[in-house]
């Protein structure tokens, strides 16, 4: 009888208890998946934000505008090869609960500024040619079942009235964390229909040819507009996103403390189960040793059993988390990047292995060191 078939025989014993242990593993790794998704939803935007893109905003706050005339001045700065801009719209689709981001964008430069968002060229062309055109991300289109050609009304809040848009294109993100729950429309449409922002834009995006000069160019921009009625703050998109996300409070600490509680508990549960199931087999291990099984082989078998349960349970948990993530954001728009990355799946499997080993190691060592005499005395 080889080790594998011995392992299989062992699995058939106390089946309910083994299934339960694997299930508690599955629950814990499912939870790990959810926490990792929430973490990524907050921090992934920082990671993937460009360090060669700068955000130029009004020094007072993001919601104060900047003059349109800055566009020319920014273009002339050495080292800047592209200037684009956007404005926040803040419209409501059907009900206030349907929250998504809407930007009025500069059609001439936006697609070059954000190459990570991919739109079929003919859709982009149709969008540029229709003043009332709009382009939405894949996720947003799926959420409301929009198809190209649909007419989408948004109720303006800052910009009064009902605004009608024609859906001309759907964009995809190149990377998993790219936010495809945005809604873009022509800045010109906003400018023509409302005098609220005429001559002003919300903020500028600037692309620098050399990322190493990003800080120097930021300072140059801010110096240029210092002491004017519209002073600016310029940061790389990365720094800007990081500062924005910090405003939500310390999510990292929250997630790490919940995760810590969960894994400590999990280790206890699995550890005690392994210990119990080995203790019940003490006599048997004694007999196996009498038959000539080496200590190392017994160590290996006990560890393999613990590892197998950890991996099976953990794997199921991670698959469930992945399926859950594929249902989309459960909060209705707050966490647009609700996604379980393969990096986190691997991390989850690594954690399973680690806990499986940690839980199995003490009973495994005990049974390896077990003296035949002591073991058989208990029979």
């Amino acid at each position: 009888m080889n080790s594998i078939s011995l392992l299989l025989v062992n699995f058939r014993r106390k089946r309910i208890r083994k299934i339960l242990t694997a299930c508690s593993f599955a629950a814990a790794l499912f939870l790990f998946g959810i926490l990792a998704i929430i973490y990524d939803a907050f921090y992934l935007p920082i990671e993937i934000a460009g360090s060669d893109r700068l955000v130029v905003q009004n020094k007072i706050s993001l919601i104060m505008p900047l003059p349109y005339s800055y566009r020319e001045k920014l273009t002339q700065i050495d080292g800047i090869d592209l200037v684009s801009f956007g404005s926040w719209f803040g419209g409501v689709y059907q009900s206030e609960r349907n929250f998504f981001v809407q930007f009025a964008v500069d059609t001439e430069t936006w697609d070059r500024m954000f190459p990570e968002f991919v739109v079929p060229p003919e859709q982009w062309k149709a969008f540029v040619e229709d003043r009332q055109g709009c382009i939405v991300g894949q996720k947003l289109a799926e959420r409301y079942g929009w198809k190209i050609g649909d007419r989408i009304p948004l109720k303006g809040t800052v910009f009064q009235g009902v605004w009608e848009f024609n859906l001309r294109g759907i964009f995809q993100g190149k990377r998993a964390g790219d936010d495809t729950s945005q809604f873009w429309f022509q800045y010109k449409y906003l400018d023509e229909q409302s005098d609220l922002m005429r001559g002003y834009v919300g903020w500028y995006y600037v692309h620098v040819s050399d990322p190493d000069r990003a800080v120097a160019i930021s300072d140059e921009i801010d110096d240029l507009f210092a002491n004017s009625p519209f002073e600016t703050v310029t940061e790389t998109e990365k720094a800007w996103t990081a500062a924005f996300i910090k405003q939500f409070g310390n999510i990292k600490v929250l997630l790490l403390s919940v995760g810590g509680v969960v894994f400590f508990t999990l280790l206890l549960i699995t550890g005690s189960n392994m210990a119990i199931s080995i203790r019940e087999r003490t006599g048997e291990i004694g007999i196996m040793k009498t038959l000539g099984f080496s200590g190392a082989r017994i160590l290996f078998m006990v560890l393999a059993e613990s590892l197998f349960m950890a991996l099976a349970g953990g794997g199921i948990g991670l698959i469930m988390a992945k399926l859950f993530a594929m249902q989309g954001d459960p909060t209705g728009g707050f966490l647009p990047a609700f996604y379980l990355s393969s990096r986190n799946i691997l991390l989850g499997l690594a954690i399973s292995v680690l806990i499986g080993l940690a839980a199995g190691i003490i009973p495994a060592l005990q049974s390896m060191r077990l003296r035949i005499v002591d073991a058989l005395r208990r029979v």
């Binding site: 106390k14 939500f248 509680v261 206890l268």
Partner: protein, 390 residues
């Protein structure tokens, strides 16, 4: 006769190590569960307590928040004469016409900028919001570039000590006082004079964003609202101040509850598996004992009741430990971004007694579910086979 309760207590003590596992896992779930309730409630309470029942807030028709609203002075003068508004000794309606801007200031905790709501208020504001109390310094003098700071804002942002000068909007302002707003959203705000704020931000004078009026009583609200909304000269919407702020808290509390309960329920499932496991191993370790009990004449249902009781008891111990673990966060301050005003809102965790009770009930439920199947298994232990093991 039922199996004595003492049997359960003793067996819990004897099997202390596996009991500990179940206690710790249930304690963790209960702690997270109560923390979520306390967080969502604390946030909600901060916003809801910002409104007074006899106040009404007036915005431009269709606006959902102050940011999106604009009201001209002409309209405000018409509103001022409508019946239902409390009058001062000269017969003038008590109201505060306000403007808000969001300005970025460095946070003490991280050093990075966060958005604060700056509110320009007018003369009557302390009569309209009578829960505001100046705790240090004095209130604003109209016409001067002066600031009073909410008690939480003064702790959240650096540079707001009394008599210090603050730069924003291209002008310097002097901090003349700190006010306490009884834990409401105003505590996270910075106040100045409305006209000065309009000047600084080069906004048209005589345009305000909201008007809060003090009514003679709660009951006149409907009549007042009717009078404002049916006046052909006005295109305004009227809402009770309490409802206005309650609505602001909705989206964030939904976010906290959805994510929090998702995490807590998955943890609970894990803990139930843990409890089932503990009880199963207890049952199999005690099969001889159980068989003895049966041989003594105890019925299957006695065994079931006894084991479920034991499991619930372990879970309740876990629940109590969980409550003790989470109690220190009560009244801890936290701050996050309020989506509606796009600015920081400070609030505190509030653990209400009923949250603890709910935590215990939750623990008992986990114990019951965890103990039921093993208890049924225990009741079916074959007496003869088990006793042969002696």
């Amino acid at each position: 006769m039922a199996i004595p309760f003492q049997y359960n207590i003793r067996s819990i003590i004897v099997r202390w190590s596996s009991t500990l596992v179940a206690v710790v896992s249930i304690a963790g779930v209960v702690a997270v569960f109560i923390a979520v309730l306390a967080l969502a409630y604390g946030f909600e309470k901060t916003l809801v307590s910002s409104g007074s029942p006899e106040n009404a807030i007036i915005l431009r028709g269709g606006a959902t928040g102050e940011m999106e609203s604009a009201i001209s002075l002409d309209q405000i003068r018409i509103v001022q004469d409508i019946n239902g508004i409390k009058r001062d000794k000269d017969g003038v309606g008590v109201m505060s016409s306000e403007v808000v801007v969001v300005a970025a200031f460095p946070m003490k905790s991280t050093g990075t900028d966060a958005n604060a709501q700056v509110r320009g208020v007018s003369g009557d504001v302390l009569q309209v919001r009578n829960n505001i109390e100046i705790v240090r310094g004095r209130f604003l003098n109209p016409g001067l570039n002066e600031l009073v700071v909410g008690s939480k804002a003064s702790r959240l942002y650096s540079g707001f000590d009394l008599n210090s000068t603050v730069l924003f909007g291209g002008t310097s302002w002097v901090v003349v006082g700190v006010f306490d707003a009884g834990g409401s959203a105003f505590d996270s705000e910075i106040w100045c004079n409305a006209d000065n704020l309009n000047q600084t931000y080069k906004r048209p004078q005589n345009i305000f964003q909201s008007v809060t009026v003090s009514l003679t009583s709660e009951d006149v609200f409907d009549t007042f609202k009717n009078a404002v909304t049916t006046d052909p000269r006005l295109t305004l919407s009227v809402e009770r101040e309490i409802e206005f702020y309650a609505k602001q808290s909705e989206s964030v509390t939904i976010l906290i509850r959805v994510l929090g309960f998702l995490v807590a329920s998955v943890m609970a499932i894990g803990a139930i598996f843990g409890a089932i496991n503990t009880m199963y191993s207890a049952v199999s370790a005690r099969s001889v004992e159980i068989a003895t009990l049966r041989a003594l004449g105890f019925k299957a249902r006695h065994i079931i009741i006894s084991f479920v009781t034991e499991s619930v008891l372990i879970a309740l111990i876990g629940g109590v430990v969980g409550i003790l673990l989470i109690l220190p966060v009560n009244h801890q301050a936290a701050s996050t971004m309020n989506w509606q005003s796009f600015s920081q809102l400070s609030f505190t965790f509030v653990i209400r007694p009923e949250f603890m009770l709910e935590g215990l009930l939750f623990a008992a439920l986990m114990g019951f579910l965890g103990g039921l199947f093993p208890a049924v298994r225990a009741s079916r232990v074959p007496i003869v086979t088990a006793l042969r093991g002696l």
